[in-house]
C-alpha cells in the first residue's frame, strides 16, 4: 500500500541533528548532595538568597518520591549517576562578542541552522543560545535595552538584577511543587530571564535554542518571564540534541507571570534525540511549565510542537487569577518508534469571566505511546468561566497507542466547559475522496496530516512554523499542486 510506504518513509527517517561537538567541558563529577548544590551555586557566584533557596529545595526534594502516575515506562533513574553541572570551558572567561566564541560551537549552530551571526538581522531574532548549561551569547541586547527590556541568561540576571529574580522566582512553580521541579530548583544550571516593563511591546520574537551536549549531563534550565502591565512578548524555545546512546535526563522549569493587560506567547519546538529505532537512548524530558495570569485581561498562550525525546512528560499550565484573563494551549505531539509522550495542560480558573482554549493533536506511529492528560478546574470564584477543549489523536499503524485522560472539575454553575476527543486513523473515505480528485495517495496522506495539525501550526510564529512542519517529517504544503 502506498499509504504504508509514505508512513514507512516517515518512520524510517533518521534524526538529522545527531552529532556530538567535541569541546572540553568543565563538569562536576556525577552525584548529588548538598555539597554539589553549594558547588554549583559557588561556581556561578550566586547571591546568598539563591543558595538558601537551592538548599531548601534540595532538602525538600530528598523527602519526595518519584511520581509514577504518568502513562510512561522507563528504567529507574539513578540520580547519583548524573553530573549536575557542565559548562563549555572557554565560557568561564566570558566572551564579549561572537568572535570570541569557540568556533567549534559556532559550527554546531551553523549545522543546526540557527540564525546567530549574519542571519540575526535578517531573521530579526535575538538568540540567547544555551550550549549545555551556560549561556554563551546573547544578541540584540543593546536594542532591547533601549526599550527597558531585560533579556539575558539566568546567571546574568542573578548578577545584575538579583532583586527582580528574588521577587518572582518560585512564585509560580514553588520549589515544593513536584519531584522534578524540586530537583530543578536545587541544581538548575542556567536558563533565560526576561522582563518586559510596563506598556512595552517587545518588537521581536525572543528566542532561546537549547542544546544538550557533554556525556551524561542532565540539563536543568530555568526560565522566568515577567510581563508588566500592558506589555507584550512572544518567546520561542527550540531544541535539538546530538545522537547518543545513553538516556539523558532533562528537567526544566518555566515560569511566566503576566500582569494587567499583559500578554505572553510562549512557543516551543522540541526535537531532542528520541532514541533509535529500537528505542535505545533518547532524552527524558520531564518539564514543569506554568504561567500565572495575575492581572485583569491578561493572556498567556502556550504553543508546542513535540516531536523529540524518548519520553516527554510535560503539562504547560495557566493559572487564571485575574478577571477576564485568557489561557490558551495549542499542542502537536508526534511520537514514533518507541517514543512515549504524556503531555497536556492544566487550566485553573479562579477569576471571573476567565476563558481557556485547549487544542491538542496527538500523532502516534510505530510502537509509540501518546497520551493527553489535562485538567480544567473551575473554582467557585470563577463566575462565567468558559473552557473549550478538543483533543484529537491520529494512529498510524496497529502497534502504537493513543490515550486521553482529561480531568474536569467544576464548582461554579455559571461555567461552561466542553471537552471533546476523537481517536481515529486516516479514514479510507478521506483518502478515497482525495484520490478521486487525482491526488496521489502519498500526497493525500500528507494533506490529511497537515490538515489535522493546522489548527495548532497556525498559532506558531512564522519562522517557527516552517521548522515545525519540517520536523513533523511529512512534506505538506509543497506537495499539493
Amino acid at each position: 500500500m502506498n499509504e504504508n510506504k509514505q508512513l514507512d518513509k516517515l518512520l524510517q527517517q533518521d534524526y538529522e541533528h545527531g552529532f556530538i561537538t567535541d569541546i572540553e567541558s568543565d563538569t562536576i563529577p556525577p552525584g548529588l548532595s548538598e555539597a554539589v548544590v553549594r558547588e554549583i551555586s559557588k561556581r556561578k557566584n550566586e547571591p546568598e538568597f539563591m543558595l538558601e533557596w537551592r538548599l531548601k529545595a534540595f532538602r525538600h526534594w530528598q523527602t519526595m518520591i518519584e511520581p509514577k502516575w504518568a502513562h510512561v515506562h522507563y528504567p529507574p533513574i539513578d540520580f547519583q549517576e548524573i553530573s549536575y553541572f557542565s559548562a563549555p570551558k572557554n565560557a568561564s572567561d566570558g566572551p564579549q562578542s561572537l568572535d570570541e566564541i569557540d568556533p567549534e560551537l559556532l559550527k554546531t549552530y551553523e549545522k543546526l541552522g540557527i540564525p546567530l551571526r549574519e542571519q540575526e538581522m535578517l531573521a530579526g531574532v535575538a538568540v540567547d543560545a544555551v550550549f549545555d548549561s551556560v549561556s554563551v551569547a546573547t544578541t540584540f541586547k543593546s536594542k532591547l535595552k533601549e526599550m527597558g527590556i531585560i533579556f539575558c541568561s539566568f546567571s546574568e540576571a542573578l548578577q545584575e538584577h538579583p532583586a527582580l529574580v528574588q521577587k518572582y522566582l518560585g512564585t509560580v512553580v514553588p520549589y515544593t511543587d513536584n519531584f522534578y521541579a524540586s530537583l530543578n530548583a536545587a541544581v538548575f544550571s542556567d536558563g533565560s530571564f526576561c522582563y518586559i516593563p510596563e506598556g512595552v511591546r517587545c518588537p521581536m520574537e525572543l528566542s532561546t535554542y537549547f542544546r544538550i551536549n557533554a556525556m551524561s549531563t542532565g540539563q536543568f534550565e530555568r526560565t522566568l518571564i515577567i510581563a508588566e502591565p500592558g506589555s507584550y512578548v512572544s518567546y520561542l524555545e527550540g531544541c535539538t540534541a546530538p545522537m547518543r546512546d545513553e538516556n539523558q535526563l532533562h528537567a526544566a522549569v518555566v515560569e511566566l507571570i503576566a500582569f494587567d493587560n499583559a500578554q505572553i506567547k510562549y512557543s516551543t519546538v522540541q526535537n531532542w534525540y528520541p532514541g533509535d529505532k529500537e528505542g535505545k537512548g533518547g532524552i527524558y524530558n520531564f518539564v514543569t511549565k506554568r504561567g500565572a495570569c495575575r492581572g485583569v485581561n491578561s493572556k498567556i498562550s502556550w504553543t508546542q510542537v513535540e516531536t523529540g525525546s524518548a519520553i516527554t512528560w510535560k503539562y504547560p499550565s495557566v493559572i487564571l487569577e485575574g478577571d477576564n484573563s485568557i489561557g490558551e494551549f495549542y499542542s502537536v505531539a508526534l511520537t514514533n518508534n518507541y517514543q512515549q509522550a504524556d503531555t497536556g495542560t492544566k487550566m485553573i480558573h479562579l477569576g471571573k469571566n476567565t476563558k481557556s482554549t485547549i487544542i491538542s493533536k496527538g500523532i502516534s506511529a510505530g510502537f509509540a505511546e501518546n497520551a493527553y492528560r489535562g485538567l480544567v478546574r473551575i473554582a467557585k470564584s470563577a463566575e462565567n468561566a468558559r473552557n473549550y477543549t478538543q483533543c484529537d489523536s491520529l494512529l498510524m499503524g496497529d502497534t502504537c497507542g493513543a490515550h486521553t485522560f482529561p480531568y474536569i472539575e467544576t464548582k461554579n454553575p455559571t461555567a461552561q466547559v466542553e471537552h471533546e476527543a476523537t481517536t481515529s486513523k486516516i479514514s479510507e473515505e478521506q483518502l478515497f475522496y482525495l484520490q478521486q480528485r487525482g491526488i496521489e495517495t502519498d500526497d493525500a496522506v500528507s494533506m490529511v496530516v497537515n490538515g489535522f495539525c493546522k489548527q495548532v501550526m497556525k498559532q506558531l510564529p512564522m519562522e517557527f512554523a516552517v521548522e515545525a512542519q519540517k520536523l513533523l517529517g511529512i512534506s505538506l504544503e509543497g506537495s499539493v499542486g
Partner: protein, 426 residues
C-alpha cells in the same frame, strides 16, 4: 489507606460466614477477603481511582448485619410481576413471585444446596468486591435458559429497612445462548435511615443473548451504596444497560463491560440527579478486547444544592482489536453554586483502525432556550422546569418498555421536585 475497626469487622464477617456453612469454598474465600480487607483498609483520596470520593465517613459508624424485618410497610411491590425480594441483604421467599420454570432458573446462596459454583474469581480484584465478599450476606444466581425469550421484566428488589444495618449481595445473571430478558434491579431504603449496602452484579451474556439491564438506585438519602457491575459479553450478544442514581448520601458504582468476542455490543445509559449533600460517583470501563465490537455510552447528570457528582468513563481498545466504534458522552447540568462535578472521560487505545470519540460538557440551562419559552408566555420557573426535565428525559428515549419508562418519568419528576407540574411537562 483508611483503617477499619478490626474486631468489629471480624465479628461481622463471622456472622456472615455462618450463613454459608453449606458452601465451604465460599467460606474460605470470605476469610481470604476479610484478611485482605483488614490488611489493605479502604482506599483514601490519594489513590487515583478514589481521588474524588472519600470513604472516610463509612468508618465513622459501625454497621451491623441485621435480620430481615417482619413487614415491609412502606414499600408496595407491583402485583402481577415476576419479583425476587431481598430485605436487609437476605432473600425473602415469601415476598418473591418468580418461579423456576423451563426457561428461568434461580438459586440463592443462603438456601439449601447449590449444584453450580458461580464464578468468584474476580471477587478480590477491587476494594468494593473485597469488602462485599468478606461480609457477604446473600446472593442470587439467575439463569435464563438457552433460546428462551422472556417478555415480562424480572424485578429484583433490594430493600434496606434497618438503621445502621448493612447488606452485602453478590448476584450472577446468566443469559444462555440466544436468550433474551429484561432485568430490573431496584435499590430501596427507608428514608433517612443510615446504612451500608454493597452489591455486586455479575452479568454473563452468552452467544447472541440480549439483555436489558436496569439498575434503579433509590436508597435512603443517608445511605452508603457501593456497587460493582461486571458484564461479560460473548459473540454477537447485546447489553443495554440503564442506570439511575437518585438516592444515597454516598454512592459509588464500578461498572465494567468486557466485550470478549466479535459482534458484541453494549449501550450504557446513565442518569444521576443529585441534591442536598449527596455524593454520586460513577466509574465505567468498557474494554474492547477483540475486533468488531462496538459500544455507546451516554451519561447525564443534574447536580443541585451542595451535592457532588463524579463521572469517570474509560474506554480501552486492546491491541489488535480493530474495527471498533466506541462513542462516549457525559453531559452535566450544574444548578447550584455550591454543587460540584468532576468528570473524567478517558480513552486508552492500542489499535489503529478504530473510531473512538468522547465528549464531556458542564453547563447550565441555555439562555436562548429560556428566552424562547418566555416569548411564548411561559413564566421563568416553568421554563426552567421544562428544560431541566427535558434534559433528564432524554436518557429515557431508548427505553422501549412503556410501563418502565412511565415509572422512571415519575421518579425523575419526584427527584426534581416537579411532581405537581407533571401535567404540563408530560
Amino acid at each position: 489507606m483508611i483503617a477499619l475497626n478490626e474486631s468489629h469487622y471480624r465479628e461481622q464477617a463471622h456472622l456472615a460466614q455462618a450463613k454459608q456453612e453449606s458452601l465451604p469454598w465460599l467460606m474460605t474465600l470470605q476469610q481470604e477477603a476479610l484478611e485482605q480487607l483488614l490488611a489493605q483498609g479502604l482506599p483514601n483520596t490519594r489513590v487515583e481511582d478514589w481521588k474524588y470520593t472519600n470513604l472516610k465517613p463509612l468508618t465513622k459508624k459501625l454497621f451491623t448485619i441485621q435480620p430481615a424485618s417482619e413487614q415491609l410497610s412502606n414499600i408496595t411491590l407491583p402485583a402481577n410481576a415476576q419479583t425476587l425480594v431481598f430485605n436487609n441483604g437476605h432473600f425473602q421467599q415469601s415476598l418473591s413471585s418468580l418461579e423456576n420454570t423451563k426457561s428461568i432458573s434461580y438459586h440463592v446462596l443462603s438456601q439449601d444446596t447449590l449444584d453450580i459454583k458461580p464464578d468468584f474469581t474476580h471477587e478480590l480484584d477491587d476494594i468494593v468486591a473485597t469488602l462485599n465478599t468478606a461480609l457477604l450476606t446473600d446472593g442470587l444466581i439467575l439463569t435464563i435458559k438457552e433460546n428462551s425469550i422472556i417478555d415480562t421484566p424480572i424485578h429484583i428488589y433490594h430493600i434496606n429497612t434497618a438503621e445502621q444495618g448493612m447488606s452485602h449481595l453478590n448476584h450472577h445473571i446468566i443469559l444462555e445462548k440466544n436468550s433474551e430478558a429484561t432485568i430490573v434491579e431496584h435499590h430501596l431504603g427507608d428514608n433517612d435511615n443510615n446504612y451500608l449496602s454493597t452489591i455486586i452484579t455479575n452479568v454473563h451474556c452468552f452467544d447472541n443473548a440480549k439483555l436489558k439491564h436496569y439498575k434503579i438506585q433509590c436508597e435512603s438519602m443517608q445511605a452508603y451504596h457501593l456497587a460493582s457491575v461486571r458484564s461479560r459479553l460473548r459473540r454477537d450478544s447485546q447489553l443495554q444497560q440503564f442506570k439511575f442514581d437518585f438516592g444515597s448520601r454516598l454512592a459509588r458504582t464500578n461498572n465494567s463491560v468486557s466485550l470478549e468476542q466479535t459482534g458484541a455490543y453494549c449501550q450504557l445509559s446513565g442518569l444521576y440527579i443529585t441534591r442536598k449533600q449527596q455524593h454520586i460517583d460513577n466509574h465505567t470501563m468498557i474494554d474492547h478486547q477483540v475486533a468488531n465490537t462496538n459500544s455507546d455510552e451516554f451519561y447525564k447528570g443534574i447536580i443541585d444544592d451542595r451535592s457532588r457528582a463524579v463521572f469517570n468513563g474509560s474506554v480501552i481498545v486492546r491491541k489488535d482489536a480493530q474495527k471498533i466504534n466506541a462513542c462516549q458522552s457525559n453531559k452535566n447540568l450544574l444548578l447550584s453554586e455550591h454543587a460540584e462535578i468532576d468528570t473524567k472521560p478517558q480513552l486508552e487505545i492500542y489499535a489503529d483502525d478504530v473510531k473512538c470519540t468522547h465528549g464531556a460538557t458542564v453547563g447550565q440551562l441555555d439562555e436562548d432556550a429560556l428566552f424562547f419559552l418566555s416569548t411564548r408566555g411561559i413564566d421563568k420557573e416553568t421554563a426552567r422546569n421544562v428544560l431541566t426535565f427535558g434534559f433528564a428525559k432524554d436518557i429515557l428515549q431508548s427505553i422501549s418498555h412503556e410501563e418502565l419508562r412511565l415509572n422512571l418519568e415519575q421518579l425523575i419528576l419526584a427527584q426534581l421536585h416537579l411532581e405537581h407540574e407533571q401535567q404540563e411537562l408530560l
